[in-house]
């Protein structure tokens, strides 16, 4: 086919050049060549012109065939060439039609033909240098849209001005004004429809893809789908099951998957495309290289999905930060328990032992005194008593820091707590052993709740429960006091919330004024 096109072109050139007279607008120029065709073959003029037109379309067909056989970059190159060679016959036909309809002179053909040649040269240039190679889809799409749009608007203008001309009289400025108005009003909707129509007709995949992404975004807005599903939607729309979306975490350099698991995006057999929104990177899409041939598809689908991606990454970011804060709170609370343990050990093993040793020294001194030293005996007695009182103080402090009986389990520690309470405590506690940290947490939760009841609740009776049910430690501290307790009035209950939440548990405070306070906490045991 290409061969036919080339031959017919050459024959035509030959024919034209050696003709008696050139075609308008070059009719003034006489044939510069010494050779002339005999006038007898003049009847061939018409058929040769036709053959030339045919050859233009044959060229398009040839380009189309090669385009179908090619792949990858070559395919894009062929698209560029095809674009250029299609423009030529379409342009010529359009020009001729326009000339016939509006009676434009043949003079207009020169710049038009020059532009056409420039377009062909440019297209070949792009195809060879591969610069902006990937923009061809976009270019074809735009050419189609604006070609069709111009034709439709021209038609509309013609019809309206003709119709209104009949009413208000031919040549009236009103008719022109009305036609301009109608065209102006029709422009935007017509453009949208034309774009959709062209997309649907010539790029079904993009049209369908965009439609599905838009439907998805609608569903996200209505709360029917999670924005994090956007990755799966993209993979399906782009027909690339291996596609994976990574969200760029706000204010960091790291990426996560939809579950907030930090991931290192790597090409892994595909390639990565950066997704931006208002100049800021919001994610990366890993996809098959095949999609690189459709950059317009990728770009428009990602742009349509960018809102969902942005929402997802913010949600993932917030969830991660929340988890981080909870972990950090758990660490702080845990560090608190460890610090208490260390302090308690220090008090018992350090200061207390030294005081006992000091007391022993005094006692030995006292016992070694001769019987005559009657004054020193009582003095040493009171000194040892004082040492004993300091030891008692120390033990009270140490027990407050962390009751050593926690070593024996929650029940033992709570029993001590109940024994030390100034108001009667009814205690029911599990004797099962639990992880140290959980026992400490449970102890201090109960301790703080009891302290709260004693201090602020004006209670006369307390009930404390610590029961193990279904891998959950249920704590209850109930009093018959004045009620009205809330985490917002006083720090005691707020610290309690922290302790419970640090264990991943839940806290419920029921304290109606005048009807006692009931504090319930559930701490999960399994880890």
């Amino acid at each position: 086919m290409a061969f036919f096109a080339a031959v017919s072109m050459v024959v035509l050139m030959f024919f034209l050049l050696l003709a008696d007279r050139l075609e308008a607008p070059f009719s003034d120029v006489s044939n510069p060549f010494p050779l002339r065709l005999p006038a007898a073959v003049g009847f061939l003029r018409g058929p040769v012109w036709l053959a030339m037109f045919a050859s233009l379309f044959v060229g398009v067909a040839a380009a189309r065939t090669r385009y179908r056989r090619s792949r990858g970059v070559e395919r894009l190159q062929m698209l560029w060439l095809g674009y250029a060679v299609t423009l030529v016959p379409l342009g010529v036909v359009g020009f001729l039609l326009g000339g016939a309809l509006f009676g434009a002179g043949n003079d207009a053909v020169v710049p038009f033909l020059l532009a056409m040649e420039a377009a062909v040269a440019l297209a070949v240039g792009v195809a060879v240098t591969r610069y902006q190679l990937y923009e061809i889809d976009w270019l074809i799409n735009r050419t189609l849209v604006y070609g069709v749009l111009s034709a439709s608007l021209g038609l509309l203008y013609g019809v309206v001005s003709l119709a209104s001309g009949v009413v208000v009289g031919r040549g009236s400025t009103w008719a022109t004004a009305l036609a301009v108005l109608v065209v102006a009003v029709a422009f935007r909707p017509l453009q949208g429809r034309t774009q959709a129509g062209v997309d649907w007709r010539f790029d079904r995949r993009r049209y369908e893809g965009l439609r599905r992404v838009r439907v998805f975004v609608e569903e996200v807005r209505d709360g029917r789908r999670e924005p994090e599903d956007v990755g799966a939607v993209l993979a399906s729309v782009l027909r690339d099951p291996s596609a994976e979306l990574f969200f760029r975490l706000p204010a960091t350099d790291s990426y996560t998957d939809r579950f907030g698991v930090v991931a290192e995006p790597i090409g892994a057999g595909g390639t990565l495309t950066r997704i931006e929104r208002r100049g800021q990177e919001i994610g990366l899409l890993r996809h098959s290289r095949v999609l690189l041939e459709r950059p317009d598809l990728l770009r428009s689908v990602l742009a349509a999905a960018s809102l969902a991606i942005e929402i997802s990454r913010l949600r993932v970011g917030v969830r991660l930060q929340l988890a981080e804060v909870e972990q950090s709170r758990a660490r702080v609370v845990q560090a608190g328990y460890e610090e208490r343990l260390r302090l308690e050990r220090d008090l018992h093993d350090g200061a207390q032992q030294r005081l006992v040793a000091l007391g022993i020294v005094l006692r030995r001194l006292q016992r070694s005194l001769p019987r005559e030293a009657k004054l020193l005996g009582p003095a040493l007695d009171s000194a040892v008593d004082e040492v004993g009182r300091v030891i008692d103080d120390l033990r009270t402090i140490a027990a407050g820091v962390r009751p050593p009986r926690l070593d024996e389990g929650l029940a033992a520690a709570l029993a001590d707590l109940a024994r030390g309470s100034p108001i009667p405590v009814e205690l029911e506690a599990t004797t099962d052993r639990l992880p140290d940290q959980l026992e400490a947490a449970a102890y201090f939760v109960v301790c703080e709740a009891v302290t709260n009841s004693v201090k602020h609740g004006a209670a006369s009776r307390l009930r404390v429960e610590a029961k193990l049910m279904n891998q959950t430690l249920r704590l209850l501290v109930a009093d018959d006091g004045v009620g009205g307790a809330s985490p917002s009035n006083g720090t005691g209950l707020l610290g309690l919330t922290d302790r419970v939440r640090a264990q991943g548990g839940t806290l419920r405070i029921v304290s109606p004024p005048g009807r006692g306070t009931r504090i319930e906490a559930e701490l999960p045991c399994g880890s």
Binding site: R345, H348, D349, Q352, Q353, R354, L355, V356, A357, G359, I360, V361, R363, R364, R367, S368, V384, V387, G388, I391, R395, A398, A399, P404, R405, D407, E408, A412, A415, D416, A418, R419, P424, V425, L427
Partner: protein, 216 residues
């Protein structure tokens, strides 16, 4: 009495040794950890080992475990465990398991006479249980109905019985006559429905068993 001392705080160890020596006892070895303790018990076969609960390397309950080992493998050696703080479970187990065992808080040492009494009592096959441990057993809040029937004085006597004191020692401690104490003891045993005779240690075990059963 021939005594070994296991205590990692040197100041305290020397103080204890001095107190015991002042009282006429023979401190045959002083060590700083549980392993060395078992070795010197093996070597000297002392009458009594005074043992700190927390010792190197882990500072947890090495002394308590060594005490159990000694009671099991060297019946001739009694053990008096000293602790910085109350720990009832092991103490009760060991005191209830047989005579020749004592558990006291360290600062009881400052009541020198009571401490020396306890040391003697334990090495004679009796028991010594710190008043604070006993208090956890007879505490008002954990009391059963039967205990509620006891008079305050009887509760006091019951506590001293649990500490391992004999009637005579109780009488001395409470400034009572031996006959009054005997009356109290009979009344207590009657109210608690415990029938006992003679042996002080069997009495301790029975009382402790009763108190433990009534719930710590």
């Amino acid at each position: 009495m021939r005594i070994v001392i296991a205590e990692d705080a040197v100041l305290l160890r020397e103080g204890l040794a001095g107190l015991l020596e002042d009282d006429g006892h023979d401190v045959v070895a002083r060590v700083g950890d549980a392993e060395a303790l078992v070795a010197v018990v093996e070597e000297h076969e002392p009458d009594l080992a005074v043992v700190d609960v927390r010792m190197p390397p882990d500072y947890s309950d090495e002394g308590m475990r060594a005490a159990a080992t000694i009671r099991r493998e060297y019946p001739g050696t009694a053990v008096l465990v000293l602790s910085q703080h109350v720990e009832t479970r092991h103490a009760l187990e060991l005191v209830s398991s047989g005579g020749g065992f004592g558990y006291l808080l360290k600062h009881r040492v400052l009541d020198v006479d009571d401490f020396l009494d306890a040391a003697r009592r334990v090495s004679d096959g009796g028991s010594a249980l710190d008043p604070e441990v006993v208090a956890t057993l007879v505490a008002p809040r954990s009391r059963q109905e039967a205990l509620a029937e006891l008079t305050p004085r009887e509760l006091e006597v019951l506590g001293l019985m649990a500490e391992g004191l004999s009637n005579a020692a109780i009488a001395k401690r409470l400034w009572l006559t031996a006959r009054t104490v005997e009356t109290h003891v009979r009344s207590i045993l009657g109210k608690l429905d415990l029938s006992l005779s003679g042996d002080d240690h069997r009495r301790v075990r029975a009382v402790l068993a009763y108190l433990q059963a009534s719930g710590v």
